[in-house]
């Protein structure tokens, strides 16, 4: 048994089917042998060598084996549908009947020979027929069980269990007492009859058959009646024949069990037959309901499976037409950006236009315009249109995000072709289609956003490449820089360029605003820097020309703040010009003091006319070994802590003084880590950049 449990359930079921079949067969063989022996002994007036209860026990065993055989074969087989179940019953009956008829043929061929009239031979024939009959009954019983317990309730399962156990009790009781005369037998029979009738009222499965399946089921049930009748007649005849000569055989007519199960199968078949028959005229309604559900699902699922809005529209058209048995339909989708689109089903475009024009010409208010929010029955207006084949018209708005995006019109050739029910169904469809289209558009948007994100990522790498990888340095100074953007792309810029063997140009710039626009201007600034710096311009001239170039590139309200430096190592001098940028922090090692350089200068791109050159000035500083020049953008001084207090100029100065003797890289790293500590996050909500020049 342990072995059985461990193997695959499918194989186990097959093994069990074989075992139960074998069990039934063996039980049946023993039954025949013992019954014939007892009958033989009785006729000869001998005492039988085997106990008289043996055939009855074997009969019980046979029935139980059959019960389990069909339990595994029919009850557990989940793939069977209702007609399949009926077909199984029919097939079992057919095989049984064919075998039985074959025996009849043999008997007929034997004629009136001694063998044919031999009571023992008749007993064997009787037993074969009885076995076939019971096999058919058990198959039907198991199938009916499945039909009855379809959509079961707890209560129904309880009733069924009681019914099954009562049958088992009847089976065992029969084998203990021969004869149906006992009071208990009558009680059992009445009980089984009552339970059987209650159970026979469960016919829910019939509703799920379509028209064709109902006809098939009726046919199969009629044939089942035939089998039942045939077997009952045959076995009764044979039992009568034997009964005349002896009563010492297993007479099924004395069994409450056999009679009860026959009665039950018969009653349920009859009920099913009648219920199916009377359900035939209404089956089209059920089918229609089912189709509505299926169509509804199609529309809902179209969003996942279909590639375009058009598919949703086409499915909507088809579904609406088939659900209300309409002859034609059209769908008009209005859109702002594109031309109006028209989808038709069973109607040509010119015909559609003719009807639309007719309605518009007759000034039927709100008929097919987009503003309507209610379903309209416009059938009465069609009467006045000459040459139109349609006599009924319903129109529905399709609403997406509370806005009507189109109209669905359903047409019928019959006058008054739409009832309230149909109107409701199609308006539900239209609503669902609206939801599907909305979902579809949302999905498209999501895809679009995803694409933008990808493009921003690319922009980010492109912009990263705009910032220099290596900064100029020479024996006099080292430069270290750090930059981070709040968004994917930012507007901060720094760069260096070698003008000649002793001059290096430096720039730090901040474009107003952030994000993509700022990034574009930043790349312009890079172009300007690289083209102007190489011309060995005086810083003022650089700014004036840069301003001139930028004034016409920047949009209204945008500007760029910048500082341009020329570091000359020949005479140890810094020449710079500030254009509205944050003041430079300069640490002088000789006096061990630091200060923000106070100077004037307006940002680039603000002033169009030539007065700009008066708004800036050029300043010169002599640098010495150990000096530190700190360049930064306002993202650093304006970085906020958790309370919203800005980092500020004093903090910046203090931070630099802490590491004034270190190299450029260390100073820069110290400043950035301080800044992150201060803000409590490394996700500062602005672009920020710093550039440290350390003289040595």
């Amino acid at each position: 048994m342990a072995y059985f449990l461990s193997i695959h359930p499918h194989l186990r079921a097959r093994a069990l089917i074989r075992i139960t079949f074998l069990g039934a067969f063996i039980a049946w063989l023993v039954l025949i042998f013992s019954d014939v022996t007892i009958l033989f002994s009785d006729i000869r007036g001998l005492h039988p060598d085997i106990p008289v209860w043996l055939p009855r026990l074997m009969f019980d065993l046979y029935v139980l084996c059959l019960f389990y055989y069909y339990k595994f074969k029919i009850e557990k087989e989940e793939s069977l549908n209702f007609t399949d179940l009926l077909w199984r019953v029919f097939a079992t009956g057919l095989v049984a009947t064919v075998v039985s008829l074959g025996l009849r043929l043999i008997l007929f061929l034997l004629g009136d020979t001694a063998l044919a009239t031999n009571i023992l031979f008749t007993d064997v024939i009787y037993h074969i027929n009885l076995a076939l009959f019971l096999s058919f009954l058990m198959a039907a019983f198991t199938s009916w069980k499945r039909l009855i317990l379809y959509q079961k309730s707890k209560w129904l399962i309880r009733v069924w269990t009681v019914f099954e156990f009562t049958l088992l009790f009847a089976l065992l009781y029969d084998s203990l007492n021969s004869g149906t005369n006992g009071t208990l037998s009558t009680i059992i029979a009445i009980m089984l009859g009552g339970l059987g009738l209650v159970l026979s009222a469960n016919m829910k499965w019939v509703a799920y058959l379509n028209f064709k399946q109902k006809w098939t089921s009726l046919l199969l049930l009629v044939l089942a009646f035939f089998y039942l009748g045939y077997f009952f007649y045959t076995t009764t005849r044979l039992a009568d024949f034997i009964g005349i000569q002896s009563t010492s055989f297993l007479d099924f007519r004395e069994h409450t069990f056999s009679l009860s199960i026959f009665g039950f199968v018969m009653v349920y078949s009859l009920f099913s037959f009648l219920v199916i028959l009377f359900n035939l005229p209404t089956s089209s309604v059920f089918e229609q309901k089912l189709e509505e559900v299926v169509n509804f699902q199609r529309i809902s699922q179209s969003i996942q499976t279909e590639q375009s809005e058009e598919s949703v529209y086409n499915i909507l058209l088809e579904s609406s037409v088939s659900s209300v048995f309409a002859d034609a339909a059209w769908l008009e989708i209005k859109s702002v950006s594109q031309e109006d689109r028209l989808f038709t089903y069973g109607i040509s475009e010119p015909e559609t236009k003719a009807i639309q024009d007719h309605i518009i010409n007759n000034k039927i208010k709100g008929a097919l315009d987009q503003g309507i929010d209610k379903t309209k029955n416009l059938s009465k207006h069609l009467g006045s249109l000459k040459g139109a084949r349609f006599r009924s018209l319903l129109s529905f708005p399709i609403v997406v995000k509370g806005e009507s995006i189109g109209t669905l019109a359903i047409l019928k050739e019959l006058p008054d072709g739409f009832n309230k029910e149909m109107t409701r169904v199609v308006s539900t469809f239209a609503n669902q289609a609206g939801i599907s289209i909305e979902n579809f558009r949302l999905l498209e948007e999501a895809f679009q956003n995803e694409r933008y994100k990808e493009e921003l990522k690319i922009a980010k790498t492109v912009q990263k490449s705009l910032l220099p990888e290596n900064l100029e340095s020479n024996g006099d100074f080292d430069i270290a820089a750090f930059s981070q953007s709040a968004d994917e792309v930012g507007g901060d810029y720094y760069d260096t360029i070698r003008i000649n063997d002793h001059k290096v140009a430096l720039i730090i710039a901040d474009v107003s605003g952030k994000g993509t626009t700022a990034a574009f201007h930043m790349s312009q600034m890079k172009g300007i820097f690289h083209s102007l710096a190489q011309q060995e311009l005086d810083p003022r001239e650089f700014m004036v020309r840069a301003n001139k170039a930028l004034v016409f590139c920047l949009e209204r309200g945008s500007f760029i703040s910048a500082i341009y430096f020329v570091l000359d190592s020949e005479n140890g001098e810094i020449t710079y010009c500030r254009a509205g940028h944050c003041p430079v922090l300069y640490y002088t090692s000789a006096t061990d003091t630091s200060a923000y350089l106070q100077d004037k200068g307006a940002a680039l791109g603000m002033v169009k006319n030539m007065t700009y050159c008066n708004m800036i000035d050029v300043y010169k500083i002599k640098y010495q070994k150990g000096d530190v020049m700190v360049l930064y953008t306002d993202g650093i001084t304006e970085a906020k802590d958790s309370k919203g207090v800005e980092f500020g100029y004093e903090n910046l100065e203090q931070t630099i003084l802490e590491v004034k003797d270190k190299g450029a890289r260390e100073i820069q790293e110290h400043l950035i880590s301080k800044l992150f500590d201060y803000s409590g996050t490394d996700d500062i909500n602005d672009d920020f950049t710093t550039m440290i020049v350390r003289f040595k």
């Binding site: 901040d510 107003s512 500007f559």
Partner: protein, 116 residues
């Protein structure tokens, strides 16, 4: 977030800017000034005494009107800037381009003088 209250007296339109002006709220400031200009005011005062912070985008808004004001003969005077805001203006070099006073009386006087 920013809140802008407008008050008209003696042909002077006073815009009281309350709160912070960043990239998104600068649009509101722009709209208010544009409205004032559109209504034909030649004297505009900007009350910055409740302006806590102004970003570069906000500064850009003031800046963007400089040329237009010059062309239309409109004079704008700002007053009551706190230290930080004033610093932002001066760093950018806007202090030279815009008229900035400390009190409302001074601002009123200046705007009247300018428009003569």
């Amino acid at each position: 977030m920013v809140q802008i209250k407008r008050l008209q007296e003696d042909g002077i339109d006073t815009l009281a800017v309350i709160g912070e002006i960043d990239a998104s709220s600068s649009i509101e400031l722009d709209l208010s000034i544009a409205k004032s200009v559109g209504e034909g005011f030649k004297k505009i005062l900007v009350d910055c005494s409740s302006l806590e912070y102004i970003s570069s985008a906000g500064l850009g808004v003031f800046m963007s009107y400089i040329e237009e004001f010059k062309d239309k003969g409109i004079s704008m005077v700002m007053f009551g800037l706190n230290e930080k805001v004033a610093n932002n203006f001066s760093i950018l070099g806007l202090a030279d381009l815009l008229h900035i006073c400390s009190t409302k009386e001074e601002a009123k006087q200046l705007v009247n003088e300018l428009s003569v």
